[in-house]
Symmetry: C2
Subunit: 374 residues, 2 copies
């Protein structure tokens, strides 16, 4: 179904590991245990479970077990080697390698190591020093490599292609769950899969920003909010459109224009150097000035990449600063309990001096009016 | 497509919370912070993200945010209440509630709290005592309630139904990924979804216990291993069958019989009171006696429920003892590098004096020979 050719992507793992090592040496660390699954994938291309990556100045050692031996051999770049933890726990094997390589000060990911794992690792390592490194890899992941941008584009194209297809087949008797199911199936047929359970919310239920699709039929309400995204070759996309079915109340029109205006204003501000909080601020003020400030209770957006929600954070309290190569969502919304909700969300990519919208699906008011058969 | 009627399940959350409180009081804890997503769902039926559950002797308080407010209101049983953490972090809000309720000794899940979360919570709580509780909820979850067994049965039936359907449509030119895709789609059409990415491994690739489906066409090899499972209404199932396509080498026959013999021997031993390690042992010895011991490198099985892998652990080092109401897999395998692998896996449920196989799909040698069109 897809018209996108299959490309075998070459990832520059050497450059990624080099950046990590630079940061380790700056902090005086001679080793780094990576436990976050997506971070391991980012650094060495391995996607198995229950594995850690130990990065030293010279080596990158994937600690895994029997089950993933062949997968590791097939997927690891030449910069990385495998160490099987045969009948040892991850932390015992990691401690053994730290001793073998005489590592003294070892960084760890406090977001990805559970307290229990940390505690056992600490015991196995005895006097060696363990230092939390914060979001070291997540911060690298904020700036996408060109090969990642290619995959993010493909994922975004898949998302818009599938939404067009699903919208064509809507009838009033379908339930929210039916629509969510069709999205899931269409994404699989297109070679990807849902990045998250699609939110399909009709009528009053659209006022829940994270509504779970239900047995309500979509013909029952006149607002249909669809928040969906593809995961394709490990990279995600995220997009929301709010459609109007049948009747066209004036209030919808007014609020829709406010939300779209807020989104456009935010998008126009995006360029390298501006703060994430100022982007959130410009959209929030736009809605406040129109009397909808109290109905916009979440942050404006979030980074998208190997995870659907990652850095940067686009919120009033964020300290992230926008840089070229960042990819994130811009998703203002107005949710009025007892009336319904409208959200418009796009995934955008920051270029040299502005941003490019990756999820190219129409969002002008006229295109949102959906005529259904039956 | 399913012939299973839709049932609205009533979960006895009161009984679950009562069991937790009994264990808290035994350990002298007056509060318990539940951070594991599946554990929260088990105790109060809430499935949103970024939320914790605080259980005290009297109360069960879900700490969540704006996005999940309506979902929490709709899904929580009367025993539970909601506390919104408006603009506060989870740990700050949790600490505030611990102060309000004058809790002094608070249990936490060291498997589910990251080191970073633990560290911040510890700081917010100041002098109050934090105690790791191990797998308190996971241990309760080992023994399934009757309503959980019903859902596990449905999930297992969905798995066998979908595998039958997919096997009927096989042709030699399909790739492993095509077959995995068909399984994913058929599960969605049946109202569930894949509990995990199906393993579809043909020929030599079947020797990787956790092979990732590839672009190899299934007609290329003569062994086709399919490991799949449904997730239906939050409950999982897990099943593996190894088919033979076309030619029928004598070696396949010999090894298949050994694996099936090992599985049957283990299944016959299962009843309340036996140790998990003895079940693993009997299958392992059976394969060792036939010269395949070194080709069976993983444990015999794992619990199945809200997670695909949960307690009990069925391995040589497990200390779990089998009880009525446990549900787990029995999955011996022989993997010979350069030749291929054979695994047979069923999900079984422990009854009063034996066990019942939930994944009723044929596994006798004759049924494994697959004739394909084209």
């Amino acid at each position: 179904m897809t018209d996108d050719p299959i490309i075998i992507m070459e990832f520059d793992h050497q450059s990624r590991l080099r950046k990590v090592r630079k940061r380790l040496s700056r902090r005086g660390l001679d080793g780094f245990l990576v436990a976050g699954k997506k971070n391991i994938y980012y650094l060495c291309g391995f996607s198995g479970e229950d594995s850690w990556l130990l990065v030293t100045a010279e080596r990158a050692i994937l600690i895994t077990d029997f089950r993933f031996q062949e997968q590791a051999a097939a997927s690891l770049p030449p910069e990385c080697e495998v160490s099987l933890r045969t009948r040892k726990s991850l932390n015992a094997k990691a401690a053994e390698l730290c001793r073998e390589h005489s590592l003294k000060k070892i960084g760890f990911e406090e977001r990805h190591l559970s307290y229990g794992e940390f505690y056992r690792l600490k015991k196995s390592l005895r006097s060696r020093e363990l230092m939390p490194v914060g979001e070291l890899v997540e911060e690298l992941r904020m700036i996408k490599y060109p090969e990642e941008i290619d995959l993010l584009r493909r994922s975004a194209r898949m998302t818009t292609r599938v939404l067009s297809l699903v919208m064509k087949g809507l009838t009033p008797s379908l339930t929210e769950l039916d629509v969510a199911g069709r999205i899931n199936i269409a994404l699989l047929r297109d070679g990807g899969r849902s990045a998250f359970s699609p939110i399909v919310a009709t009528g009053l239920r659209s006022s829940q920003p994270h509504a779970v699709a239900s047995h309500h039929s979509i013909g029952g309400g006149n607002v249909l909010l669809i928040d969906m995204g593809a995961e394709s070759e490990a990279y995600n996309s995220d997009m929301t459109r709010t459609f109007i079915l049948g009747d066209f109340p004036r209030k919808f029109k007014t609020i829709y224009r406010a939300v779209l205006g807020a989104q456009k204003k935010a998008i126009r501000l995006i360029r390298p150097g501006v703060t994430a909080s100022s982007i959130d601020g410009v959209a929030r003020r736009y809605l406040e000035e129109r009397g909808y400030g109290s109905y916009f209770g979440h942050s404006l957006g979030h980074g998208v990449g190997l995870e659907v929600h990652e850095r940067p954070v686009i919120s009033s309290r964020s300290r992230d600063v926008i840089k070229k190569g960042m990819v994130f969502t811009v998703e203002p919304g107005v949710y009025i309990p007892g009336w319904g909700g409208i959200r418009i969300e796009d995934t955008v990519m920051v270029t040299e001096d502005e941003c490019e919208i990756l999820t190219e699906y129409p969002k002008d008011l006229e295109s949102m009016v959906q005529k259904m058969k039956g």
